[in-house]
Every structure is written in C-alpha cells, then in structure tokens.
C-alpha cells in the first residue's frame, strides 16, 4: 500500500536533537542580539553628543569627561558568550569587517545591481487555447520565448505555461495576461544577486590568473613528474573555471530574461466544483463575525493601552477649562 508506506517513511523524518537544541536557544539569542544593538545605538548617540560638545567649546569640559567615562564603560561592557554565534552567524556578520565582495556591493550604483525577477500566476480562462495563443503572440512581440508548456486534458482542462521575456517587458506581459483572464493569485519574486555575481566574477579572475601561472610553470618544468602534477592541477582549475563561467552565464541570462510561470485553468468545466449557496453564506458570515470581533478586540487594546495619554490630555483639558472659567469670572466681575 503506497500511501501507508509514504506515511510511514514521512513519520520517520524527525529533526535531530542538535537541531532541536539550536531552535530552543533562538529566543534567548535574539534577546542578546537586541541588547547588543541597543548598546551600539547608545554608543553612537553618546559619540554624537561628544562631537557636539567638542564643537561647542571649552565651557563643556566637565560634561565631556563624564560622557567619555560612560562611553568607555559601555565599550568595555559585558562580553557575550560565543555559544550564540552558531545560531546567529548571519546576523553577527553585520559587526565583522566587510569582505572585499561586501564592500564592493555597497559601492554598486542602483542601476548596476543585478536583479532577477520571476513571476508566478494562477489564472482562470473561458477558452484555454485562445488564451495560450494570446500569451504566445505577446511573448513573440516582446522578443521572448516559451520555456515549457504542459497541457492537461482531463476532468478540467489546464495548462502549465512558462515563458521568458526581456526583463524590461515583464510588466507589459503581465498587463496583457491580466487583461485576458481572471487572475486568482500572483507573486513576483525579486532576487538581488549582485553579491553572487561579483563573487563569481572574482572567482573567475582568480582562476584565470592561477591558470596563467600554471601554464608558465609547465613551460619551465623539466621533469615529467612535475609536468604531470601541474597538468592535473591545471585540469582542475579549467573545470572549475568552466563551472563558474557557466554559472555567470546562467545568472546573466536570468537577469536579462524574466520568467513568468502561469498555471491556467479553464473555468467552464470548473463551475461544477463551486460550493453550494449555503456553504458560501456560512463561510462569509463566519469571516465577517471574526472581523467584527477582531475590531472590538483591537479597539479595546488601543483604548486601554492609551489610558496614560488620555489621563494627560484630560488633565490639560481640565486646566484649560479652569483657567477659562476664572478668566470669564474676572471679566464678569469687572
């Protein structure tokens, strides 16, 4: 029985005790990270005050020494254990010196950034073939191409269509799709691959330089053993170089051409699957009931949470009223 076997096999997939241990420590590590960030902000604020005071002049010498002492105590403050660094390797990297690739990233202009855009859409159409033809015509006009097309003619006719269009034509093709069907879901993913691209270019340059060096060494080598070892190393370098060049080419292609994956369902045959009137009414009623309940809950939270402000405003209002009354009385007695 395949289904039972699948359930048994999936049951056996459980996270390791080490993973569970790491997960259980995440909230604690987050709190420490938050504390570290607020300490950093405090140091920056104190440093800004220091600069202001230096500019303000010698009259602030006493304040300056106090602030300097406070800054020093914060810098020399509590040290955090390295146990959290495993879980927060990515966040901790913010405080480490930037790698050459990272400092290269920060200096890239917005126009030079390498962006890959992908769109995924689920749509409903009246006539499947007409819609597919419309999309294909538009793709041809945009100088794009159809990457894959899987059509299914069963109880509900449908098609999985993937097209690639020049990145600057993505919005245009989406507009055409939206105008010719009912879109039931749409996602556009934007991936900034600038760092990966720069890393790949750096790897290519480094491997090419190593290749040059090896070729020169091979020319100068006398004994067969050395030549064989160098040739082996050269083969490895060339293989890696080809891989990186392919990866770069793939990225460039993905940057230049955006892919649009469209799941198309023909609606006329799908109408039978619609829920009954009573089920739809029940669902809508439940949703609206929840929304009303949520509104009152949010209102209560906002009102109770805002009581301190209300008290202050009420006090100010009371003072203003008392002053206004007294002023009015004085005017009347005059």
């Amino acid at each position: 029985m395949s289904k039972e076997q699948y359930i048994r096999e999936t049951d056996s997939i459980v996270p390791s005790p080490e993973l569970k241990e790491k997960l259980s420590k995440l909230p604690e590590a987050k709190k420490k990270n938050r504390k570290k960030k607020s300490t950093r902000y405090a140091i920056i604020a104190l440093a800004a005050c220091l600069v202001f005071i230096i500019i303000a002049g010698p009259a602030s010498n006493t304040m300056l020494s106090t602030i300097t002492n406070k800054t020093n105590s914060l810098i020399d403050g509590p040290s955090y254990s390295s146990s959290s660094s495993d879980n927060y390797a990515k966040d901790e990297s913010e405080s480490t010196p930037a790698s050459p690739a990272e400092s290269g990233i920060s200096s890239i202009n917005i126009d030079d950034r390498k962006i890959i855009k992908e769109a995924r859409m689920s749509v409903e159409v009246k006539v499947l073939d007409d819609f597919i033809k419309t999309v294909k015509d538009e793709v041809r006009k945009c100088e794009g191409y159809v990457s894959s097309e899987d059509k299914y003619i069963d109880e509900s006719s449908s098609c999985d269509l993937v097209v690639n269009v020049p990145a600057d034509k993505l919005d245009a093709i989406i507009d055409v799709i939206e105008a010719n069907c009912k879109v039931t879901s749409q996602h556009i993913d934007t991936d900034d691959v600038s760092s990966e691209y720069i890393d790949t270019e750096s790897q290519i340059k480094s491997l090419e330089a190593e290749q040059e060096t090896l070729l020169k060494l091979i020319e100068k080598a006398d004994d067969l053993d050395s030549i064989i070892k160098l040739q082996d190393r050269l083969s490895g370098i060339r293989s890696d170089l080809e891989s990186y060049k392919s990866a770069k080419k793939l990225m460039e292609n993905q940057i230049q051409y955006s892919s649009v994956s469209i799941d198309i369902d023909e609606t006329e045959k799908i109408v039978k699957n619609d829920e009954s009137f009573s089920a739809q009414v029940k669902e809508k009623f439940t949703k609206n009931l929840y929304s009303v309940g949520n509104f009152f809950r949010e209102f209560a939270i906002g009102f109770i949470g805002g009581i301190p402000y209300l008290v202050v405003l009420a006090a100010i209002a009371a003072i203003v009223i008392v002053i206004a009354k007294k002023t009015k009385k004085k005017k009347e007695t005059k």
């Binding site: 029985m1 395949s2 289904k3 076997q5 699948y6 359930i7 096999e9 999936t10 997939i13 459980v14 996270p15 390791s16 993973l19 569970k20 790491k22 997960l23 259980s24 995440l26 909230p27 987050k30 879980n87 890959i116 689920s122 409903e124 299914y152 069963d154 109880e155 509900s156 449908s158 039931t184 879901s185 996602h187 991936d191 691959v193 990966e196 790949t200 490895g236 293989s239 890696d240 891989s243 990186y244 990866a247 793939l250 990225m251 993905q254 799941d263 369902d265 799908i270 699957n273 929840y290 949520n294 809950r297």
Partner: protein, 160 residues
C-alpha cells in the same frame, strides 16, 4: 483557539507542535539534510521576527508551512545558480529504489507539496489552496497530476 499577538509569542507553541512539520516540508524540498536543517532554523528565526498577529493555531501552522515552502524555493534558486562542483557531493543517505518518499520528492514542487499536505497532513484541496495561495481547482489538478506521475514511477498511489 489561541490568539498570538506576534511571532515571538507563538514561538514556544510552534516549537512544541510544528517543528516536525516544518522539518518534513524542508526535507521534501531540499536535496540534503544540512539544507533542510538550515531552512528549519531560518523559519523559526523569521517567526521570532514576525510582528503581525497570528489569529489561531491553524493560522500559525499555515504561516509556517507557507514560509518553509518559500524559503525552500529561494534555496533551490540559489543552489541551482551556483552549481560549481569541484569535489563530488556525497549523499547523506543512499536513496532507496522502492521508496515512495523519494518518488514524491522527485515530483515538481507544487505536486509534491500538495501530496504531502493532503496525504500526510490531511488538508483538503481548499485548505491547501489557502496555504499555498493557489486556486482550489489548481490544487485539485496538482493532486491529480501528482498521483498520475507517481503511478508511472512506482506503479500507483492509492486513489481516494
């Protein structure tokens, strides 16, 4: 029905009840255990950073499933771009030839997630559509095509 004001409040409940679910989806959608573990960790980190309310346990579970699927997709895109192999990557475990799980894992993303959510987690097509943000009829198509593909691969998968 418990209301969680933000992700941090939901963390301990999610860790106790849904760690296995998140991990299993990650294993279904990655090629190695290390990636699955990283993604599981990332999902729970995102939960801690999630500032919007989660109105019930079911809503929390749906959020976890959707986030895991999205992170697996991002991981796949990243690994397929930089597929530099200077040394052969050894599999953590040899794949069993008659494994239904391996057959499901080899299906396209939408089909395998739908098969998992329906047959293992017990969600209906409508519920799966809400979680994966897809049309109900589309989910039915994915389920049907997934079963057809499994039938070709392993000779069948019990139909309802």
């Amino acid at each position: 029905m418990t209301f969680f004001a933000k992700g941090e409040d939901a963390f301990s409940y999610a860790f106790k009840e849904y760690t296995n679910t998140v991990y299993r989806i990650a294993v279904h959608n990655t090629s190695c255990i290390a990636d699955a573990e990283d993604i599981t960790q990332d999902v729970f980190t995102k939960l801690l950073e999630h500032s919007k309310p989660l109105r019930s346990e079911e809503h929390l579970k749906a959020w976890l499933i959707r986030t895991t699927v999205n992170l697996c997709r991002d991981n796949y895109k990243k690994t397929s771009r930089l597929n530099v192999v200077s040394e052969p990557v050894s599999a953590e475990e040899p794949a069993h030839e008659d494994s239904v799980l391996e057959a499901v894992k080899s299906l396209p993303e939408n089909y395998r997630n739908t098969i998992y959510l329906h047959y293992y987690e017990g969600y209906t097509a409508k519920e799966i559509g809400d979680i994966l943000e897809a049309n109900h009829a589309t989910v039915l198509s994915w389920l049907s095509r997934g079963r057809t593909a499994l039938k070709e691969m392993i000779g069948g998968f019990d139909d309802e």
